[in-house]
C-alpha cells in the first residue's frame, strides 16, 4: 500500500458516496452541496493524475460557477423544490437496474481489454504538461480551431441563455 493508493481509495470512496447522495437526497439544496463535494473529489483525482491545471479549472469553473449557478436556480424555483413527496419518479427501479447493468457491462468490457491494468508510466522530469497544454491550445497545427470553436460556442450559449431567460413585458 503506497500513500498514493491510500489517498486514491479515500478520495474515490468520498466522491462516489457524495455522488450517491446527489442523486438520492430529498432536499435539493443539500444535493447541490453534495455535488460540490463530488466535484472537489474529482479535482483531487486530477491532482493524482498530474493534471494540475485541470484541477484548478475544475475548482474555478465547476465549483465556483456551475455549482453556484445550480444553487441559484434551486433558490429561484424554491417553493416547488421543497415539495413534499418522493423526489424520484415511478420508474426509478428500472433506472437503478439500468445503471447497475451499465456499470457491469462497462467493467466487463474494460476488464477484457489488454491495456486495462497499465502501470503508471514515469513522467520524464523535464516534461511540463502545463506548458505543453498551453502551447497545444494555441498552436495552429494542434488545437487552436477546436479551442476557438469552443469559445464561440460558449459565447453563443450564454447569449442564448440570456434570451431564453429574459422576462418580456
Amino acid at each position: 500500500m503506497t500513500p498514493l493508493l491510500v489517498i486514491f481509495i479515500i478520495t474515490a470512496a468520498v466522491t462516489l458516496g457524495a455522488a450517491l447522495m446527489v442523486v438520492t437526497v430529498r432536499n435539493l439544496v443539500h444535493a447541490a452541496l453534495w455535488l460540490v463535494v463530488t466535484l472537489f473529489g474529482v479535482a483531487v483525482m486530477y491532482v493524482l493524475l498530474n493534471a494540475g491545471f485541470l484541477a484548478v479549472a475544475q475548482v474555478v469553473i465547476y465549483i465556483g460557477a456551475i455549482a453556484i449557478l445550480m444553487i441559484f436556480a434551486i433558490m429561484l424555483t424554491r417553493h416547488v423544490a421543497i415539495d413534499t413527496g418522493p423526489q424520484v419518479n415511478a420508474n426509478w427501479i428500472w433506472a437503478a437496474v439500468l445503471s447497475l447493468a451499465l456499470f457491469a457491462a462497462l467493467s466487463w468490457t474494460l476488464a477484457s481489454w489488454s491495456g486495462f491494468s497499465t502501470a503508471l508510466p514515469e513522467m520524464s522530469p523535464r516534461a511540463d504538461p502545463l506548458r505543453q497544454l498551453g502551447t497545444a491550445l494555441v498552436s495552429p497545427d494542434l488545437y487552436v480551431i477546436p479551442f476557438e470553436v469552443a469559445s464561440v460556442l460558449l459565447l453563443a450559449a450564454l447569449i442564448g441563455a440570456i434570451m431564453v431567460a429574459w422576462e418580456r413585458r
Binding site: 479549472a57 436556480a73 424520484v88 497499465t118 503508471l120 479551442f147 460558449l154
Partner: protein, 103 residues
C-alpha cells in the same frame, strides 16, 4: 501495490452510472442537470486517466478535457435558463409536467 489504470476506469464507470441513475430517476429538472454534470465529470476523469497512463507525451487528453469543460458550462447555462423560463410560464420544474410539445 501501485495505482494502475484500472482503478481510475472503474471509478469513472461507477461515477457515470450514478449520474445516469440521477438523470433517469430524478423528477426535478435541476436534479437531472446535476446528474448530467456527474456523467460529464466521469468522462473527464476517463480522458485524463487515459492521457496519463497511455500517452503522457501527447497532450490530447487534457486538451479535450478543456473542451468538455467549455461544453459543460454552456450546457448548464442554457439548461438553467430553460428551467427558469419554464418555471415562469408553467410554475413547475418537474420534468414529467413539462409536456408542451405533446399533441
Amino acid at each position: 501495490m501501485m495505482i494502475s489504470l484500472s482503478y481510475y476506469l472503474i471509478f469513472s464507470a461507477a461515477l457515470f452510472s450514478i449520474g445516469l441513475f440521477g438523470v433517469l430517476a430524478r423528477k426535478n429538472a435541476v436534479a437531472i442537470l446535476m446528474g448530467v454534470e456527474l456523467m460529464l465529470n466521469a468522462v473527464n476523469v476517463n480522458l485524463v486517466a487515459f492521457w496519463r497512463f497511455r500517452t503522457p507525451e501527447l497532450i490530447a487528453g487534457q486538451a479535450f478535457a478543456i473542451m468538455v469543460f467549455a461544453v459543460a458550462a454552456a450546457e448548464v447555462a442554457v439548461g438553467l435558463a430553460l428551467i427558469i423560463s419554464i418555471y415562469r410560464r408553467r410554475n413547475t420544474v418537474v420534468a414529467d409536467d413539462i409536456d408542451m410539445l405533446k399533441l
